[in-house]
């Protein structure tokens, strides 16, 4: 039932609205609203009960194993939330002076320093509000760099075919043409083709490493050399930083610019879709172009570097200075983990993935790249199942929900047929992994004994399988009071 169906005209919550009457007669009538918006009129209890019950209809880290590849669904420490919500942080207006924000700015500055260390870059800006905005920032800097050198021909961004959708979409948003580079049969970039494709039009290459195929790009140094030699720059999509944090630094691989997804690697919550934080790091070459603002320190005082400090900056990407509350959570997480903890993240994320991969192989599940080590994630392909049994990866995904596990990422990357991208993360226990593996094996069994059970899954979720075609054809995007 929708909240609107619990609503009744005339019901109010006087505790929540100012009690004094106000004078508004200086606003001319023609600027005022005539009708009342259809917001729900419900009591506080009705609202609390409605949304508490709704929440229970979600799978989440706090309730389920959630091995969603590329998304790094790991434990979000409750301390990060609690201490980020201290009134001193929550009540500070973004346009109040830096004098009134030294505590907050100190955290931001230290976070910048830690990210520099982890990435091996030379400067960092915390502005971007998510990974995709980080990508935009990075590619815009690449553009600004070439323009600043009068190198205006460079109109193409290269992207592996396995790349996340935000990579090509970002290149387009920055006004570039996108060229796809194929993957070889072992999951590495096809270096031969790369060589053919690069040239004077190449502005840069966007790469995720470990890639979205769940493997480490072994030719990374060769790739670096090819692109740089051609005059292009190297962009690092840091969505998979969880796999290598403390083990390898993107800066050492030769990347010029990188974004991180703190909502993945630094475990700030995904919140059902966001918010995130996508800081960008750059090497010396791109430093002048960094977006503003970022925090600088002079003799123990912190302040924002703005337009005047950074005349060549690509500018601002939003009205404020990044998703501050997310950045504080990331800062707390980093302090809890410390340098040793960072490294362990990568180690145990990788151990868990390799363990699962091997165990699933033992149960007869096909891997997309059986010859490779898993990184923090790996790809399963259910093509044989689809061909033989007519049961799709999506069917299996839905059936996993019935067994209490969130499904892995399905049908991504696009080049692997009927695939699952499985990322267990380091915070899951072996018991949880084993339970998923058993569920998976059970489902494979079911595809033989009762394939329809799987095809019509899920059965135990709040709703059964949803008709997405209908959703797109008969658009119903907002409730309207039909009784009016």
């Amino acid at each position: 039932m929708l909240i609107f169906e619990k609503s009744l005209n005339g019901r109010t919550n006087p505790s929540q609205a100012p009690s004094e009457d106000s004078v508004i007669d200086d606003i001319p009538q023609h600027l005022l609203r005539a009708d009342e918006p259809q917001l729900p009129s419900v009591s506080e209890l009705q609202a609390v009960r409605h949304y508490t019950r709704l929440s229970q209809k979600n799978f989440s880290i706090d309730t389920n194993f959630y091995p969603l590849g590329s998304c790094t669904m790991k434990y979000n420490p409750r301390a990060c939330n609690k201490y980020a919500m201290l009134p001193g942080f929550l009540n500070r207006h973004p346009y109040s002076s830096e004098r009134t924000g030294q505590g907050f700015l100190a955290c931001m500055y230290e976070l910048q320093q830690m990210l520099l260390d982890i990435t091996g870059m030379r400067a960092v800006s915390l502005c971007p509000l998510a990974g995709a905005q980080g990508e935009f920032t990075g590619v815009a800097m690449i553009k600004a760099y070439h323009q600043s050198r009068g190198d205006a021909e460079r109109s193409e961004i290269l992207v592996p075919d396995a790349a996340h959708g935000t990579n090509p979409a970002t290149a387009t948003m920055c006004g570039f043409k996108v060229k796809e580079i194929p993957t070889d049969e072992n999951g590495d970039v096809d270096v031969g083709i790369l060589r053919q494709v690069v040239g004077p039009n190449t502005a840069g290459l966007m790469l995720t490493n470990p890639s979205t195929l769940g493997v480490f790009e072994r030719h990374i140094l060769e790739v670096e050399e090819i692109v740089h030699t051609a005059g292009g720059l190297l962009y690092y999509d840091g969505a998979n930083l969880n796999a290598i944090m403390g083990k390898v630094k993107p800066g050492d691989m030769g990347f010029d610019v990188i974004h991180m997804n703190l909502h993945k690697t630094f475990s700030t919550p995904h919140g059902g879709g966001g918010p995130g934080a996508g800081p960008v790091g750059v090497n010396e070459r791109l430093r002048p172009f960094l977006p503003i603002p970022y925090v600088i320190e002079t003799s123990g005082e912190y302040r924002w570097a703005k337009e005047d400090d950074c005349p060549r900056s690509i500018g601002r990407l939003s009205a404020n200075m990044g998703n501050a509350g997310v950045l504080i959570r990331a800062y707390i997480y980093a302090r809890l983990l410390g340098r040793e903890g960072m490294r362990r993240v990568a180690e145990f994320a990788t151990l868990n993935a390799n363990y699962m991969m091997r165990k699933l192989q033992e149960r007869g599940v096909d891997m997309a790249f059986p010859g490779r080590r898993a990184t923090h994630e790996f790809i399963v392909t259910l093509k044989k199942l689809k061909d033989k049994q007519g049961v799709s990866a999506m069917d299996v995904a839905k059936r996993l929900l019935d067994k209490g596990h969130h499904a892995p990422t399905v049908y991504f990357p696009l080049l692997v047929p009927e695939c699952f991208l499985i990322e267990p993360t380091e915070t899951e226990s072996r018991q949880e992994l084993d339970s998923f593996i058993s569920a998976f094996a059970e489902i494979l069994q079911e595809t033989e004994t009762d394939p329809d059970l799987v095809r019509h899954a899920p059965h135990s979720t709040p709703v059964r399988r949803l008709d997405e075609v209908r959703a797109a054809r008969e658009l119903d995007l907002a409730w309207r009071d039909e009784s009016n």
Binding site: A17, I24, N76, K247, G271, G273, A319, G325, R372
Partner: protein
């Protein structure tokens, strides 16, 4: 090991399953020369107790100022229930609802949010949030240019928040879109509607119309909208959502209504938090639904005919359409949508209207009290809402510093962005300010200016 559950014995058993001797061996595909040394700028880990102590000290260091700053970000009372529920693990730690059947909580909530926002804006369609107000405006500009294929010019009034204008420009200039500034009247602070007529048919993709504008001045939105439509441009409204409980919403502007409405959702239950996370919203007319970016939730049926909710029109999005997507946005500000939905449900139409009215009343009172001091005047003679521009007889920055020393954040110095206004100060008092606080500001100001 913090947050890692593995015991020694498990590690050994798991390594044996994988068939390697050590964890390091799992990284054997990484070229040896790349493997890094220990981190040097990340300090050793702390216990939660130590972190609690540190963060408490840091947060207290930032003091506790009485806030008269607005500028597009407002201190409002947030019902306790909003964040007690928003931080429930099921909302807080879920991912984007790609598996609809396992995400009905988030999905239904977003559908309800879309319903509330479209009704508040009187538009047909709402998406499920963008990053924040300025980049939402940039996305609206990009959408308008997509609609008006081939036209790369957008009219942007100088009365739009300067940081919005800067951010929009940083974003859209990469697609060679030109923003042309529309001036405002120095008497009344409103956009010069006549300037629109300088642009003849089919040269302009869209006209941006703020309501209220950055100065808090109320624009003549009907005229602006009609004139924009006359020259064949779309109208992009940039509005304060709280104000829409009181003011004519974009869908009702002029003869046909605005085409796209965007803005900053922060006033709807989201704390100030030094600037984020906030939430951009975007609504549009039905016919543009396929041109807008961001996630959209639709109501549909399940296999048994029961009602359910799912992401829809995903063919606009990067994970499907890749380089042809309407935007690169992926992660949005979902949790802020939870907060905003709860806020709107708890306030209701009448509550939200009372908040809007009180903000206006308080800012009005503030402006009057401040202007009672000699040398202090209202800048504009136009009706306003929620913010007011005050002119002082000396540089604003110095006065603001002196006020800050009294524990008061007095407002925003407009002189860097609007030198033409002289010593202009943008100030605001929401419903959270008491009359005592307003008077204390006025008293301090008088004392400071009489020095």
């Amino acid at each position: 090991m913090p947050f890692i559950p593995h015991t020694k014995q498990e590690i050994e058993e798991m390594l044996a399953v994988v068939g390697v001797a050590s964890i390091d061996e799992l990284f054997s595909e990484i070229p040896a020369e790349l493997v890094s040394e220990q981190l040097t700028h990340v300090p050793a880990g702390m216990t939660e107790m130590e972190v609690a102590r540190l963060m408490t000290a840091r947060s207290q260091q930032d003091g506790n100022y009485i806030n008269f700053i607005g500028g597009g970000v407002y201190e409002h009372h947030i019902p306790a229930a909003v964040w007690e529920l928003t931080t429930r693990g099921e909302f807080y730690t879920a991912y984007t609802p790609y598996q609809a059947e396992a995400s009905q909580g988030t999905l239904q909530l977003v559908y309800e949010f879309q319903s509330m926002m479209t009704s508040l804006m009187t538009m047909d369609v709402s998406n499920a949030s963008l990053y924040e107000g300025a980049s939402a405006l940039a996305e609206a500009v990009l959408a308008a240019v997509r609609v008006k294929k081939g036209i790369n010019t957008v009219l942007m009034p100088r009365t739009v928040n300067p940081v919005y204008r800067k951010a929009v420009n940083s974003i859209v200039k990469n697609q060679n879109i030109e923003l042309i500034e529309i001036p405002f009247s120095i008497e009344n602070g409103a956009t010069d509607a006549a300037a629109i007529q300088n642009y003849s048919d089919r040269q302009v993709a869209a006209v941006v119309v703020p309501q209220p504008n950055y100065f808090g001045v109320l624009e003549d939105v009907d005229t602006l909208t009609d004139q924009a439509h006359e020259i064949g441009a779309l109208v992009i409204g940039v509005v304060n959502p709280t104000a829409m409980a009181l003011l004519k919403p974009p869908g009702q502007w002029g003869k046909e209504g605005a085409d796209i409405a965007v803005g900053e959702g922060q006033p709807l239950g989201i704390p100030l938090s030094s600037g984020g996370p906030y939430m951009g919203f975007m609504c549009c007319k039905q016919k543009y639904v396929r041109q807008i970016p961001g996630r959209i939730v639709g109501r549909t049926r399940d296999e048994q005919g029961d009602t359910g909710f799912t992401l829809t029109l995903q063919a606009r999005e990067q994970h499907i359409r890749r380089s042809k997507a309407t935007s690169n946005i992926c992660t949005n500000q979902g949790l802020m949508v939870v907060a905003a939905t709860l806020y709107l449900a708890l306030l209701g139409p009448q509550g939200l209207r009372r908040v809007a009215e009180r903000c206006h009343h308080n800012t009005n009172t503030l402006a009057q009290k401040l202007c009672a001091t000699e040398g202090v005047h209202r800048c504009f003679n136009q009706p306003f809402f929620h913010e007011a521009v005050i002119r002082l007889d000396r540089p604003v920055a110095d006065v603001l510093s002196a006020i800050e020393a009294q524990g008061i954040n007095g407002g925003i110095d407009l002189s860097p962005d609007y030198p033409e206004l002289g010593n202009a100060l943008l100030t605001c008092a929401t419903e959270t300010r008491t009359i005592d606080e307003i008077e204390s500001y006025a008293t301090h100001l008088e004392r400071i200016l009489s020095r």
